[in-house]
């Protein structure tokens, strides 16, 4: 007896990004939304076809707003009869297409607002949460919890990272971990998405950046169709290089090295005297030392660290060696490097007692 699965799809619908994706210049395989949707529908049909009890919700992330495009829980007007088509497929596809059109029509003409990916993400997490706790709702006849469908989330992304949404995305990831659901990410267009990469990595999903966008359907069917139980038997591709950088809370920029408040774990790009989140005051001494560390006076026996070529153009901050003698108390502004691999490790210094 296998469990049914629930698939929640979040569709990134940024008009400008999709327009760029459909342009031929600089890309061998342009893909427009109009070409992508039929392939997505086939994928969604295949999900519903896999099992009678499989359920589906589709959320659209539009500029500035997010909305639900389809949910198997709701009843829609049945599509017209056609003896060549399985009726639920036709109903689902036409509902999504219609809702999508309505939403895109109603978008304001002027400047595009940032994409509401977080809104869509949290909404779908909420619906999944409600599905996994049916006994809490009004419906008193709760089915056996082992019979509930196992949830899964798929984000189809075309937009670049919004560094302002770091904290809400991280919170969504924690929420997903708690709900024991995996977040898959299908990156169709644009540069790699750091936060979504982390989301897939931390929840055990798979992040795939599509190289050949003309065969998007094959990607969807091989990688994103299988429920977790099947993935144990038949592996799906995952990224082995994951960018685990975080964004600072003060300027919302992705940083290589951050400074973390030891009380509330807020991340800052510069040492600050007072944590803006929990209002704790850091000792002056620590601050001074940290500021020195930002512009270090290197001891002679340590070679100046070479930064990798792909490091961002922002002035790199170098961490002081770990073996720096510890002060008597835990410094409030002790930082952790977020991406260790990018920083060459200083030559290990053996403490005198060990020789």
């Amino acid at each position: 007896m296998e469990n049914a699965s629930h698939l929640s799809v979040i569709l990134d619908l940024s008009p400008s990004q999709w327009y760029q994706s459909s342009q031929t210049s600089g890309d061998k395989h342009p893909l427009s939304l109009a070409h992508f949707l039929p392939q997505l529908f086939v994928f969604l049909n295949a999900h519903l076809a896999s099992q009678h009890e499989n359920t589906l919700t589709v959320f659209g992330a539009f500029p500035g707003k997010s909305s639900m495009l389809y949910s198997s829980n709701e009843t829609y007007i049945q599509a017209d009869a056609d003896s060549n088509t399985f009726q639920p497929f036709k109903t689902m596809n036409s509902v999504i297409a219609q809702r999508l059109n309505e939403e895109l029509e109603s978008l304001p003409e002027d400047a595009e607002a940032p994409i509401a990916l977080v809104g869509a993400l949290t909404k779908s997490l909420c619906t999944i949460n409600r599905r996994s706790h049916p006994s809490d709702t009004l419906n008193a006849t709760s089915p056996n919890p082992s019979k509930l469908p196992t949830p899964r989330l798929l984000v189809i992304s075309v937009s670049p990272d919004l560094s302002a949404s770091y904290i809400p995305i991280m919170n969504s990831i924690f929420c997903a971990q708690k709900l024991k659901l995996s977040i898959d990410v299908c990156k169709i267009f644009g540069p790699d998405n750091v936060f979504l990469q982390q989301a897939a990595h931390l929840t055990g999903g798979s992040y795939i950046s599509i190289d050949r966008r003309d065969s998007i359907l094959q990607y969807l069917m091989t990688t994103f169709l299988s429920p977790p139980a099947v993935r144990r038997l038949m592996a799906v591709p995952t990224e082995d290089r994951i960018d685990l950088r975080a964004a600072c809370f003060c300027h919302k920029q992705i940083v290589d090295i951050g400074f973390i408040c030891s009380i509330c774990l807020s991340i800052f790009c510069k040492p600050t005297p007072v944590c803006s989140t929990c209002r704790v005051k850091f000792p002056i001494k620590t601050l001074q030392r940290l500021k020195e560390a930002v512009n270090p006076v290197l001891p002679p026996n340590i070679p100046a660290p070479k930064l990798p070529a792909e490091a961002p153009p922002a002035t790199p901050r170098v961490m002081p060696p770990f073996s720096m003698p510890h002060p008597g108390f835990m410094p409030a502004g002790l930082f952790t490097p977020k991406k260790m691999s990018k920083i060459p490790k200083p030559a290990p210094r053996v403490p005198p007692g060990m020789k």
Binding site: A49, T85, P143
Partner: protein, 462 residues
């Protein structure tokens, strides 16, 4: 159910499809509805294999697929390839792997909604207001039909009279070995008792499989037509009206047969449309047809499937007034008192032995009690108290203390030498079950009788 227990990943119908000829299967796969239904019956790994290969045009090296299989999935993968090859979906997967062409196009059409085969049934507007049932009424109709069959089975051989199902159903019950006909009286067989304790969904499938086997014996029926119709039914929507004009003569016969099982509904033989019930539309679902929906039967009682409370002192409290459920419980519970909404009894040695004599096994009793356990019982772990579980199994073992074997006793040998020679010969045949040299007697299996006899005759002739 028995097949499911042997191999939990294979659906009973898949086994039936394995026995079909390749041409039958290939003709079946031209129907998108059949492809979609079969996909649901496959195991998850088989399904994923098919889906991964579906949109590839050319063949793929088998090695490149095998690379994706994890260590844990090896045996399941081997099994999946074998099963798919038997179904003619993935023939010859030794070096290169390619979906069978008609299955590929059939499933593609099913998922995209293209093609011209019209295999999902023709929807029509209802002819008139008369004779159309809303979905809830259809559910009631289906449950009532099914209960009639089960109730007839459970009360057969007793003095109680119950409504008789139609002749077609009675014939099928006999043909499938669930009931036997003794001097015009139909008596439930031990297979029938086992059938009663299965989940409704498993019962439905067993019934349909016997129906398919019965139809397969008839020469004038085309298996593709029959299977295709079942798959079409499983892909229809409950409560909609489907036209009978597009059906073949075979399928028209099936529609009227299936009405007796509660799978479809039509008011009279003259109507040109039928409505599938939820029984039909949940055929390819893995779970029970009832569990998701709050079906209520006509007297308003809840047809809840979870109603039995079993205590460590063997007392059984069943919160039901459904005659069928009471009758089934009565197979292995001795009832003491009956109240408007519940019935009280206990499991005794005699009552369980009565069930065992009827051919029901201890495992079946326990699995029935587990599936129908009251929500309050589900808080316990294990659901059934260990003492009761063990005792039911011990009662079953009691019946196996003596094992009977047919054979012949050879005695009154004239001399010890005669005895030695004959018993030595019988030992070489491996048929000796018991021997006693001092009394010059031995007991041998019935299979060895002819040989031993002729050996003795040859010796005396010398």
């Amino acid at each position: 159910m028995s097949k499911k227990q042997e191999n939990p990943t294979t659906h009973a119908l898949i086994d039936f499809l394995h026995s079909q000829t390749p041409t039958t299967l290939q003709r079946l796969y031209t129907r998108p509805s059949a492809c979609l239904a079969i996909i649901r019956l496959l195991s998850p790994l088989e399904r994923q294999l098919v889906m991964s290969l579906l949109w590839l045009e050319g063949p793929v090296e088998t090695q490149s697929i095998t690379n994706w299989i994890t260590l844990e999935g090896r045996s399941a993968y081997e099994h999946a390839l074998k099963s798919l090859a038997k179904l003619q979906i993935l023939p010859n997967s030794k070096e290169q792997i390619l979906l069978q062409a008609s299955f590929k196009s059939g499933l593609r059409n099913g998922l995209t909604g293209s093609g011209q085969v019209a295999s999902f049934g023709a929807l029509v507007e209802p002819d008139n207001d008369m004779g159309t049932l809303p979905t809830e009424m259809l559910d009631n109709y289906a449950v009532e039909r099914w209960d009639t069959i089960l109730h007839f089975m459970v009360t057969s051989g007793t003095e109680q009279a119950s409504a008789r199902p139609s002749e077609g159903v009675l014939y099928l019950l006999e043909h499938s070995g669930l009931m036997s006909n003794e001097h015009g009286r139909r008596i439930i067989t031990s297979a029938g008792f086992q059938f009663l304790l299965q989940s409704p969904h498993a019962q439905l499938w067993e019934f349909i499989l016997s129906y398919l086997r019965m139809m397969a014996e008839r020469e004038d029926m085309d298996m593709v037509d029959i299977l295709g119709f079942f798959f079409m039914l499983s892909m229809t929507q409950p409560g909609q009206h489907y036209s009978t004009h597009t059906l073949s003569p075979t399928q028209l016969i099936m529609v009227s047969d299936l009405r007796d099982f509660g799978l479809v509904y039509f008011p009279s033989d003259t109507t040109t449309s039928f409505q599938p019930t939820r029984f039909a539309t949940t055929l390819t679902s893995y779970t029970s047809s009832f569990s998701d929906h709050d079906l209520t039967i006509e007297n308003g009682a809840d047809l809840s499937q979870e109603f039995v409370v079993l205590e460590t002192n063997y007392h059984v409290y069943a919160y039901t007034n459904n005659p069928l459920q009471i009758a089934v419980l009565n197979l292995f519970v001795s009832f003491k008192a009956r109240f408007p909404n519940m019935i009280m009894g206990s499991l005794t040695r005699d009552s369980v032995k009565k069930a065992l004599v009827n051919g029901i096994t201890a495992d079946q009793i326990l699995s029935y009690l587990v599936t129908h356990a009251h929500p309050q019982m589900r808080k316990n772990n294990p659901i059934i108290p260990v003492t009761v579980q063990d005792q039911i199994r011990l009662w079953e073992l009691e019946r196996h203390r003596v094992k009977g074997q047919d054979g012949y006793l050879y005695k009154e040998f004239a001399s010890m030498n005669d005895y030695e020679v004959v018993v030595q010969y019988a030992r070489e045949l491996g048929v000796v079950l018991w021997e006693n040299a001092s009394r010059r007697m031995f007991f041998a299996d019935a299979a060895g009788r002819v040989h031993i006899r002729s050996y003795i005759e040859r010796r005396t002739a010398l």
